[in-house]
């Protein structure tokens, strides 16, 4: 960044300087890519090369299917191993960008005779794409403020903790590629805006297509760009370049978005996209107005305006009224639940418990800003100020981007991810401007000291101009283009740079100290980022570790349980668990699940929630009606794993109660408090979840039954299960698997004839597959 300007300024010839500067920038970029890749490998080094968390397992499973069966089978894939008995159309309900990318990468590697497993490719997709994202940030910031700012922003993005949290090796989720696509789309938009080239407009719509393929967050793009266009029009910055950047994007982008099955006609039917169409119409009107203004004399134009305004106003009002009426007549006003919760932060918790129950949909806390973007939070305002001098189309876009993403990140923790690149760009601009001023003033003084008055008067002037060369050439390109009409002499920028430079010279001591402090600030950021990457965000959450006095202790219970399931149960057995574990069960144990993390059917989830909250017998009936053979619960009471099912239990009650009103939340609360000790309500103590979690728990610590997560002794210690039997409990009791007892034990032969025959057949099957734990 600063180094590049330093060294480049030193070389004499301007072409040579440009060349060496470019080479230097290239190598810096290469190193940034390496940095972005390698900082995300902590999870592989500290744990192992595994897929993380929940959603990545599903993506991994889809990728496996894709590589095995090909693209066409993937599009038509109906998955019968999940959402039993409904199944799920995978091809039409996933954003295919990530899986197609990883699948293509795998295929290319196979063609090159590099025999990597699909899992390895999936694990390393996210780090590779974060390197791409860093390069895209460089390009975007370069368009806004020049190479120096671009390189700084790329460095910052390569290790911004917020982005690391979603893209460590193994975090194989949509965001991994989507952030790259987001930044790259913005870059191409800015590039089109700066050059007015239709070629870049085409590329832009293709990048947008990739973004639509990758992530639902594409609605951010299709709302932000129209907003920027509108902003430009309102502030009188309309130019033909704006038209070329925007109008083809809307048409091509809409068509391409409609090609993605999961979006389909939503691309023209839902109101998330209406803003773009509205602005599309507006820009045409404006373009026509500007065109007519160009060919008419000012006086005639005024006449035309008064004519058109008087007629057009009436038509406009009518159209808008009709539009509002149409949109308002639909029940959700045409917005989907997730988007509505963006606009009204309280919407989800009020109406959709299933959205509110996901922790990443909660609003963030203040410390999480500091944790996730660290010093960038302080640099952003400086960057915004730097963007205002001079304000170009590109810099106004970046300002709009940061303002909007700051709002959205305040609504939903997950969208911090969209905010982070904007913060990096702004901070990159701020830092590079600061470096620019400091180094320039130091150089100025150094130059004055060395150079005597007798030296030629031309050369210092030249040198001074050369220091500014890049900024002048690159960042003021759009503004200069406008001025080209008036003056095209070299004198103008030369003079301008001189006048501009004068107030920016600081005292040499002050700038030296400030330079040192800025570098120190950057160093803190690096330290924090590395710490975040190594300690905070690398845990795969299926393998847990804890540091005890005896050293590192590994909890590998999840994989133990899933391996048990895959080895000891029949391949067609159905496993019920809370939806969090659905993806992992299908991917790792290869067993059919009732609900999973794709929460598309609220009723189905509510059924499982109801079963978990019901007493044993009722739960057994619900599960039996769903053909469930095994029930899996996650229990952290023994080792203190806090995100277990007991802690999630209230959500099960809420979601279950939302559909089946006989489940009432107050029944599970004692005086509004959620407790599992002796003060707990009998409904709570008799619920299936309680029983499955705490069955035989007293045996672990000699009759006390002390729950380490809740920090109390459990309320009901000794009880027997009548309808379920324990078949497997993992080493640390984190996963407990129960089997539904066969029906023969309780039916007294009155009803349910059909069902008894079914159970008898399944019973014989389970006998043949008798598990070794009994």
């Amino acid at each position: 960044m600063a180094a590049s300007t330093d060294t480049t300024a030193a070389t004499p010839s301007s072409t040579l300087r440009h060349a060496s500067g470019n080479i230097l920038a290239f190598f810096i970029l290469l190193l940034i890519g390496v940095l972005a890749f390698s900082i995300r490998l902590f999870s592989v080094i500290k744990y192992e090369s595994v897929i993380h968390e929940f959603d990545p397992y599903f993506n991994y499973r889809v990728t496996q299917f894709l590589t095995k069966s090909g693209v066409y089978d993937f599009w038509n894939w109906f998955d019968d191993r999940t959402w039993y008995p409904l199944g799920r159309v995978i091809g039409g309900t996933v954003y295919p960008g990530l899986t197609l990318t990883a699948g293509t990468m795998w295929k290319v590697l196979q063609m090159l005779n590099i025999p990597l497993s699909v899992e390895t490719v999936c694990v390393f997709t996210a780090p590779v794409f974060s390197a791409f994202a860093a390069w895209a940030t460089y390009l975007l910031t370069k368009e806004v403020k020049g190479i120096g700012a671009g390189l700084t922003a790329a460095v910052l993005l390569a290790m911004v903790p917020s982005y690391i949290s979603r893209s460590v090796a193994g975090s194989y989720d949509n965001e991994a590629v989507a952030i790259f696509a987001l930044i790259f789309t913005f870059y191409l938009y800015i590039k089109t805006l700066n050059t007015g080239s239709l070629f870049y407009a085409t590329l832009n719509s293709m990048a947008y297509f990739y973004m639509v393929c990758s992530w639902g967050g594409y609605t951010f793009i299709i709302n932000l760009i129209p907003m920027h266009v509108l902003l430009c029009i309102v502030t009188g910055r309309y130019s033909p370049r704006l038209y070329i950047a925007y109008a083809p994007l809307v048409v091509l982008g809409t068509l391409m978005a409609a090609l993605v099955p999961v979006v389909g006609f939503n691309a023209v039917m839902t109101s998330e996209h209406f803003a773009s169409f509205l602005v599309f119409i507006i820009i045409h009107v404006v373009a026509l107005a500007y065109y007519i203004k160009g060919i008419l004399s000012p006086k005639m134009f005024k006449v035309a305006v008064t004519l058109v305004v008087s007629v057009g106003l009436v038509v406009c009002c009518a159209v808008v009224a009709v539009l509002i009426a149409v949109v308002a007549s639909s029940p959700t006003k045409g917005w989907s639940g997730r988007s509505l919760s963006l606009l009204d932060p309280t919407y989800a918790s009020k109406y959709i418990p299933i959205i509110a129950s996901v922790s990443e949909h909660q609003p963030p806390t203040w410390p999480s800003y500091f944790m996730d973007i660290n010093i960038l939070a302080f640099l952003v305002p400086a960057g915004i100020i730097a963007c205002f001098s001079p304000l170009s189309d590109a810099s106004s876009f970046v300002i709009l981007y940061i303002v909007m993403s700051a709002y959205f990140s305040g609504v939903m923790v997950r969208l911090m991810l969209v905010f982070a690149p904007a913060a990096c760009i702004m901070s990159g601009i701020a830092l590079s401007e600061a470096f620019d001023v400091f180094t320039r003033s130091i150089k100025f003084y150094a130059f004055q000291a060395v150079d005597t008055v007798s030296a030629s008067t031309v050369s210092p002037q030249n040198n001074v101009v050369e220091t500014d060369k890049k900024e002048d050439v690159l960042k003021e390109r759009p503004s200069r283009k406008n001025k080209k009409k008036e003056k095209e002499t070299v004198e103008k920028p030369l003079k301008k740079s001189e006048t501009e430079k004068r107030p920016l010279i600081l005292p040499v001591e002050a700038s030296a100290i400030a330079l040192f402090l800025t570098v120190l600030l950057g160093a803190f950021y690096v330290v924090h980022s590395v710490w975040a990457a190594a300690e905070a965000y690398s845990a795969p959450s299926i393998v847990l570790t804890s540091h005890t006095r005896g050293g590192l202790h590994v909890f590998d219970d999840f994989r133990e349980a899933y391996a048990w399931l895959s080895h000891n149960t029949h391949v067609d057995d159905k496993v019920a668990s809370w939806w969090d574990y659905g993806y992992q069960t299908t991917a790792m144990a290869n067993r059919t699940v009732i609900v999973d993390n794709n929460t598309w059917n609220n009723t189905h989830i509510a059924t499982v929630g109801t079963a978990m909250s019901s007493p044993e017998k009722a739960a057994w009936e619900i599960f039996n009606s769903l053909d469930v053979k095994y029930v899996l619960v996650v229990f952290g009471g023994l080792v203190g794993y806090s995100s277990d099912d007991i802690n999630k239990f209230l959500w099960m009650v809420r979601i279950g109660g939302g559909v089946f009103p006989h489940i009432k939340e107050p029944d599970y609360l004692r005086d509004g408090q959620y407790r599992i000790d002796s003060q707990a309500t009998p409904t709570m103590l008799n619920s299936l979840m309680y029983k499955l979690s705490y069955f035989r728990f007293v045996e672990t610590d000699g009759g006390k039954g002390y729950d380490r997560v809740r920090g109390t002794e459990i309320g009901k210690k000794h009880f027997k299960l009548t309808h379920f039997e324990e078949v497997f409990t993992t080493h640390h009791w984190m996963v407990r698997i129960y089997k539904l007892k066969p029906q023969r034990n309780r039916i007294r032969g009155k009803t349910k004839k059909s069902r008894s025959s079914k159970t008898s057949s399944t019973k014989t099957r389970t006998i043949t597959k008798k598990n070794p734990w009994h």
Partner: protein, 118 residues
Amino acid sequence: MGKSTVTTKDDAHALFHSLRAAYSATPTNLKIIDLYVMFAVFTALIQVGYMAIVGSFPFNSFLSGVLSCVGTAVLAVCLRIQVNKENKEFKDLPPERAFADFVLCNLVLHLVIMNFLG
């Protein structure tokens, strides 16, 4: 009231005349592009009218039909902007390059349309 309508009528006439005069000065190649744009918009309007009468049942067909017309028009307008000598901003851009971009963009557009039509 009557006087104001008369003045607006006069104004409209004057406006119309000056518009015509101004437009007749545009080069022929731009006029051809204009004709092309008009044709595309007109086709789109016909399709919308057809949709209003018959219904939009194969919605993807309707959508691709209309959007291909709109897209063609938009791209032609872009081309017109770029090859227009009046636009100082695109002085550096040779018309051949502009046309090549235009063809590329059209290719992409119609590839997408063909995919979507089915």
